[in-house]
């Protein structure tokens, strides 16, 4: 499944300082579903290059990261159980505190 994954707010530093990743994520079965939970596992195994604790805590993202599916808070679309579709855009953004 082709997806656009974006990291921001400093999270990109864990992904070789690349913010936007065009990826093709395999589904378990051909044409099968992909949930956010599956995607997090795939990202951790395939894209995450350092300090995994700065991205993942338990089975979800660490506190202080907003997850957006097509510009919408994942809390509004099922969080880990949200199912993704071809060409969806997923943003992981770390909240900033500076000023």
């Amino acid at each position: 499944m082709r997806l656009t994954i974006e990291f921001g707010g400093g999270l990109e530093l864990l992904f070789q300082s690349v913010k936007i990743h065009q990826v093709d994520v395999p589904t378990k079965t051909k044409g099968g579903q992909l949930t956010m939970k599956d995607l997090l596992t795939w990202v951790s195994d395939n894209l995450l290059k350092e300090r995994p604790e700065m991205f993942i805590k338990g089975e979800t993202v660490r506190p202080g990261i907003l997850v957006l599916i097509n510009d919408c808070d994942w809390e509004l679309c099922g969080q880990l159980d949200a199912t993704l579709e071809e060409k969806d855009a997923i943003i992981f953004i770390s909240t900033l505190h500076g000023g």
């Binding site: 707010g9 202080g64 510009d71 505190h97 000023g99």
Partner: protein, 469 residues
């Protein structure tokens, strides 16, 4: 005949419409007045009444709203009055509104300038800090003459210089759980322009307890974020971030850097949101968040969750009260200090593995053979470095140990057999150098020592002209 009847009907209709408009305006004013009086009842007094700030809405007998604006007001704010969607009513709402800006730094600077210029009736400014030279590239409200002086004083005088007709209240102190309720209760809208996560939770909770809308902005590096919390069914900060982030995820401007104009953009947008709320115009950025990325020139506005029913601060069964707010330990909760200037002092090494910057200077003056490794990131090293130091950033140290060995061999080539050159490690403040020495001890460099306090102590105790950043 028919024409006259028609004129007459039209005339009556216009009269009714005019009366309706006038009554609606009065209704808004009465509602605002009720809010003010209710606040007074809760908080035991309001600045505007106590200190005789003008309140143009006392002229309740006058139906024409513009009659409450002085001729100078009309001239000063004429470009606002000319906006059909803002107009006299928007300006009058602004003039009687009060906005608290917490933080007179990168975000607060432009926000305060615009709030003062546009005629917000009363502006409160909270900041405990003093102006420093390295603030001026982004904190544009301050100027060189105020270096070393209170940011609040500097900001207040700049605001007065732009608009002497508004009231500025100075709070040259840090906002904490003891003074927050008292200060925040006096204002209609709060702007969070602070620089640390502890204060962000504190301000949000305080706004929830007091029922105030919060315009929250943040900026770091080349990115900024903006939203309005606790307003029109939107979430509070805790709805969005129920648990604080790990300390290592909280970068600050003095470590990570910030392009000056980035907080400027976000601060301007904070002023805009606060002006919209205070003047009751437009759609506030509630339930939405604006994400700004400077380098690719991208602005994203995303939809975020609404108020969470389970939120400990604003949820259905929320237990947060004035008392529990005052006793809540925010620094413990977030594991982060209320100031981005307080830094953890690491103490990882025994004294024998450390030397002071003065001792290092003596070693250089004696001509002692040694290698100095600087473990700062390369872009830090490019700013300024000590003579003959070898830059091996901490993150790359593991793979570059050979370079240390070679450098030591070069130093030792002129020495009698069996003599060793010393190995010293330095960084910006003396934390990473300890981590590096601790690591080096375990990989064949048992004599490595770190310079206590890093280049900061070198600049302070040895060579005051060493450029600090």
């Amino acid at each position: 005949m028919e024409g006259r009847e028609c004129d007459c009907r039209e005339g009556r209709r216009a009269g009714i419409l005019a009366e309706l408009k006038s009554l609606k305006q009065q209704k808004i004013e009465i509602e605002k007045r009720i809010n003010v009086i209710e606040t007074q009842l809760h908080d035991g007094g309001h600045f505007a009444e106590e200190e005789g700030v003008r309140d143009p809405h006392h002229s309740a007998s006058c139906n024409s709203a513009s009659a409450s604006l002085t001729p100078q007001d009309i001239y000063r704010y004429s470009r606002h009055l000319l906006l059909p969607s803002f107009g006299v009513q928007g300006q009058l709402n602004l003039l009687k509104s009060s906005i608290l800006v917490v933080g007179a730094g990168g975000l607060g600077s432009p926000a305060l300038l615009y709030l003062a210029a546009c005629g917000v009736g009363c502006i409160g400014i909270v900041d405990h800090d003093v102006v420093e030279l390295n603030n001026l590239h982004r904190q544009i409200i301050h100027n060189e003459a105020y270096i070393g002086q209170s940011k609040v004083k500097s900001a207040a005088e700049a605001c007065h210089g732009i608009n002497s007709t508004i009231r500025i209240v100075e709070y040259p102190e840090a906002l904490g759980s003891q003074n927050a309720l008292d200060i925040v209760s006096k204002y209609d809208v709060v702007i969070d322009a602070t620089d640390n996560v502890s204060t962000r939770y504190l301000i949000s909770d305080c706004c929830v307890v007091l029922g105030k809308p919060l315009v929250s902005g943040a900026a770091l590096g080349l990115e900024g974020q903006l939203t309005v919390y606790h307003h029109k069914g939107g979430p509070c900060y805790r709805c969005l971030f129920p648990s604080p982030p790990p300390q290592a995820a909280c970068q600050n401007c003095s470590d990570s850097g910030v392009l000056g104009v980035v907080p400027g953009v976000i601060g301007c947008l904070q002023a805009l949101e606060a002006i919209k709320i205070a003047s009751s115009v437009g759609e506030p950025l509630s339930g939405r968040m604006l994400l700004f990325d400077a380098l690719p020139a991208r602005i994203h506005i995303v939809k975020i969750r609404g108020r969470s029913l389970n939120c400990v601060a604003c949820g259905e069964n929320a237990t947060f009260t004035r008392d529990s707010f005052q006793s809540f330990d925010y620094e413990k909760f977030t594991q982060a200090p209320f100031s981005d200037k307080t830094r953890p002092k690491l103490s990882l090494l025994p004294e024998s593995a450390r030397i002071s910057s003065k001792e290092y200077n003596e070693c250089v003056e004696r001509g002692e053979p040694h290698v100095l490794v600087d473990v700062r990131p390369e872009h830090h090293f490019m700013i300024a470095s000590l003579p003959k130091s070898l830059n091996l950033p901490l993150s790359t140290l593991q793979s570059r140990l050979g370079e240390i060995e070679e450098a030591l061999k070069r130093e030792e080539s002129d020495l009698s057999p069996g003599s060793h050159a010393s190995l010293y490690v330095v960084c910006r403040r003396g934390n990473d150098s300890q981590r590096a020495v601790d690591y080096l001890h375990g990989v064949g460099f048992p004599l490595a020592q770190d310079i206590i306090g890093g280049l900061e102590s070198w600049a302070r105790d040895v060579y005051p002209n060493f450029p600090m950043y």
